[in-house]
């Protein structure tokens, strides 16, 4: 087969000693960067890009290194999410929801191992999909117009609504706070400044990463300080737990679905790991409601709620490479930088890249197989060391977290404004937590809201204000139908269950 011969060419590039070394380096640095709160894959790639350039690496090797950092970070992001309730990067926000409760129960090892396996499965599954469907999918991706994005976001919001099910009003308020934050900055349509208060740092909107780190990491620090002041520090038990075969069988369909979902969302330009993991989590929660065998405990340490976002965020990182390689269009923020890197090496990304430089394209794809295997091998034995982090006295751990976040955030814009803003957000995040709000909806409101608003306005400017543009093709119908299903199916399943229970009771009374 044609594809396989290309892949063979790819492996002949990827298995060169230099490239093997670079993919290992990239994956290692990526895991490290991902695990540090404040530095995500975007910044990691950005930091290494000048270095790769200065080292005079050939373009395919540089790309292999930088891509390794990218998907390596998707592995690393989960570590601090699970152990510290601080997402290491944006794609790992959802991982905190069930990962952290698991670790509080002393099952940090199990959570880390299961999420590593899910990440691996997500990556490899997505890679296989990419090898066989890339050119076709990229055609589909560009067919995704503003109306389709609007529906995708509506669908994502619907999934989100059930995310923190026990407190729907508070989830809603959280989303609204996120939506409000999303409106800050230059209005994409008219170029008018909105809610910037004349501060130039707000012209491009509120930086997503500053919000994530402020709300999660800084507020977590305040929580720790509070419990220290109240002399109420809980010691997290460190179990020697590990992932079991039964765990893996339990989540196999979850991982499969989430991989597919994450990959598809990753392929779409403009949506990345954070949206992919949120949608995957939401869908799995929906599915779990109807699962009679296993009661769902999403939000309390359900392994399905851990496997879904981890498989999805890794799959989306692979998916984001599809439009980059086939069309020269970024599929995510990080691939936008990778594209810039290609240009820096005087390689023109675009539809001809596959034909003109198959060594680069297939070398990169093959290296991702190598890299993911390396990441799994690297990650599993390290779990024991990571879990030990929890035994570090909090009086040492807290300053280190604070320091890392400050460095990370400062490195984005090189301006101290972000640091003050981050602290302010930390205070707000702390207050919200005290009021029992979940913070993830705030972040997702911010991400989804921005994409939704931009695309809704694009759709309406294309149609000249005619709302019927939102129903302009099979994709929009499909997504609209999925949204309706996501709302009603769990309700029906729920009422069906209730009726059955009532019937049972009636039987017993007879």
């Amino acid at each position: 087969m044609d594809v396989l011969s290309h892949l063979a060419t790819g492996f002949s590039v990827a298995l060169l000693p230099l490239n093997i070394f670079l993919v290992l380096m990239g994956c290692f640095i990526g895991t490290l960067i991902g695990s540090l709160p404040g530095i995500g894959p975007i910044n990691g790639v950005a930091i290494l890009l000048p270095l790769a350039y200065a080292l005079g690496l050939p373009p395919e090797s540089a790309l292999i290194l930088l891509a390794g950092v990218y998907y390596g970070a998707e592995y690393g992001g989960r570590i601090s999410s699970i152990l510290l309730n601080v997402p290491g990067d944006a794609g790992a926000i959802m991982t905190t929801l069930d990962g952290y409760p698991l670790s509080r129960k002393g099952e940090g090892g199990r959570a880390l191992a299961l999420s590593a396996v899910s990440s691996f499965a997500g990556s490899i599954g997505a890679l296989i999909l990419m090898v066989f469907t890339a050119p076709m999918l990229s055609q589909l991706a560009i067919k995704f117009g503003p109306s389709e994005y609007v529906w995708l976001m509506v669908f994502a919001f619907t999934c989100l609504a059930t995310m923190v099910g026990s407190r729907p009003i508070k989830t809603l308020v959280g989303v609204v706070i996120g939506l409000l934050l999303a409106t800050v900055g230059v209005d994409s349509g008219t170029g008018v400044l909105r809610f910037t208060m004349g501060i130039p740092n707000f012209f491009d909107g509120v930086d997503f990463l500053v919000v994530v780190i402020g709300m999660f990491a800084i507020s977590e620090v305040f929580v720790l300080l509070e419990s220290w002041a109240l002399n109420d520090l809980k010691i997290t038990p460190i179990g020697k737990s590990f992932v079991s075969m039964a765990d893996m069988m339990h989540v196999k369909w979850v991982v499969l679905r989430s991989t597919l979902m994450g990959f598809l969302i990753g392929v779409l330009p403009g949506t990345g790991a954070s949206i992919a993991s949120a949608v995957a989590y939401g869908i799995e929660k929906r599915f779990a409601v109807g699962d009679k065998e296993h009661k769902e405990h999403f939000g309390e340490g359900d392994i399905r709620g851990l496997a879904a976002p981890e498989a999805a965020n890794n799959a989306s990182a692979v998916g984001a490479m599809v439009p980059m390689l086939t069309l020269g269009i970024p599929g995510s923020g990080t691939t936008a930088i990778l594209l810039g890197a290609l240009m820096m090496f005087n390689i023109t990304p675009g539809p001809l890249l596959f034909e003109q430089r198959p060594d680069i394209v297939w070398g990169l794809i093959a290296s991702m197989f190598v890299g993911n295997i390396a990441l799994l091998v690297m990650n599993l034995p390290m779990i024991g060391i990571f879990v030990r982090l929890l035994s570090i006295r909090q009086s040492y751990l807290v300053p280190v977290i604070v320091m890392l976040t400050f460095i990370g955030i400062y490195s984005i814009h090189g301006d101290s404004f972000d640091l003050y803003f981050m602290i302010l957000l930390g205070v707000i995040g702390f207050l919200l937590r005290k009021l029992h709000f979940s913070l993830a909806p705030v972040i997702l409101g911010l991400v989804l809201g921005e994409v939704m608003e931009e695309n809704l306005r694009r759709a309406l400017s294309i149609s000249g204000g005619d709302w019927s543009i939102l129903f302009n093709g099979p994709i929009t119908y499909g997504l609209a139908a999925a949204t309706v299903l996501a709302i009603f199916v769990p309700l029906m399943v729920g009422s069906l269950k209730k009726r059955k229970a009532l019937a049972n009771m009636a039987d017993m009374e007879d």
């Binding site: 950005a46 130039p200 810039g340 240009m343 400017s461 000249g464």
Partner: protein, 325 residues
């Protein structure tokens, strides 16, 4: 990485300590007011690599990133904290100038809040449509748009008042269509707009020539006109200018560098001199070409005057278009 950091810090410390009296940059850096890999990054690479390849400097020039508002954050940063820092060159584009012209860089900041020191090069606007679009000349496109301005959608990588919008507005005006009647959709950057054009969501993209290298050759997109004063060389030599086709629509994208407003004449003249030397070097001009730009040899006072006159011109355009009230 681990080992690099301390040495860098040490080197930086030493360099500051050796600050000499006559101007010689101690710690030269180019501030790219965008994320790595973007247009401003490429602009910075032109001098950080070009100066080295031209043999103009031994001290490597660091590239620093300060994204925000097409340069607004960097402009404010320089004006607030580093007004007289002769080490910091900042990259700008005509997109930044357009925002300065509209007063979007801050209430008290205008084109006199910086010392414009040297040009990197220029690029030109281009009228781009999908390869299967029914039009083969600008005249055909304009005729179709004139017949029903609301039928076709113009999409580009910036909102109303951005460079891309200006290009579309100038094109519409030159063909007698009221710019306000066009359907305009804003995307995040040229990449997304190109995707939308390929996907058929928009029909007309007023993009840049430089970003179309490779895309036009791939045969998915057609370039109907370049918005340059005369035909370009190389890959785009076959593409007629808008002027040739009877439309007075030109848009020059300028890329260059500025220094803080209170930088000493010594430092300003040093950098202007460096640019003059660079323009004489083939290695530097090659670096400019490789980053998709056409060299523009202009520095020092001449450049400062030129930039300021551009801003005045843009202010007129923006006022005319009703962007400034």
């Amino acid at each position: 990485m681990k080992f690099k950091l301390p040495t860098l810090v040490l080197a930086a410390g030493l360099a500051t300590a050796m600050n000499a009296a006559a101007f010689e940059p101690s710690k030269p850096e180019c501030i790219a007011p965008a994320k790595p890999g973007g247009g401003f990054d490429l602009t910075c690479r032109i001098i950080s690599n070009g100066f080295k390849e031209a043999g103009l400097t031994d001290i490597p020039m660091a590239v620093k990133f300060m994204p925000g508002g097409v340069g607004a954050v960097a402009y404010n940063h320089i004006n607030a904290n580093r007004r007289d820092d002769g080490n910091a060159l900042v990259a700008f584009s005509s997109g930044s100038l357009l925002n300065i012209a509209q007063g979007k860089f801050g209430k008290n900041l205008d084109e006199n809040s910086a010392r414009w020191v040297g040009a990197a090069g220029v690029d030109y606007g281009a009228v781009i449509v999908s390869a299967d679009a029914p039009w083969n000349t600008l005249a055909e496109l304009v005729a179709a748009v004139k017949a029903d301005p609301t039928k076709y959608v113009v999409g580009a990588g910036g909102g109303v008042g951005s460079q891309d919008w200006m290009k579309a507005a100038i094109l519409m005006k030159s063909s007698g269509v009221d710019p306000k009647s066009m359907r305009y959709v804003a995307y995040e950057g040229g990449g997304e707009a190109t995707a939308a054009l390929m996907g058929g969501h928009i029909q007309i993209y007023p993009g840049d020539v430089g970003e179309m290298v490779g895309q036009v050759a791939a045969g998915k997109l057609k370039m109907l006109a370049v918005m340059a004063p005369e035909r370009l060389e190389g890959e785009f030599a076959q593409i007629p200018t808008a002027k040739e086709q009877g439309f007075d629509a030109e848009w020059t994208i300028l890329r260059g560098y500025y220094l803080g407003p209170d930088v000493s004449d010594d430092a300003y003249n040093y950098w202007a001199g460096q640019f003059e030397k660079a323009y004489a070097s083939d290695a530097f001009l090659k670096a400019v070409h490789e980053k998709g730009l056409i060299p523009l040899k202009m520095s020092g006072k001449t450049f400062d005057t030129y930039v300021k006159s551009r801003v005045v011109y843009m202010r007129e355009l923006a006022t005319e278009a009703g962007l400034i009230k």
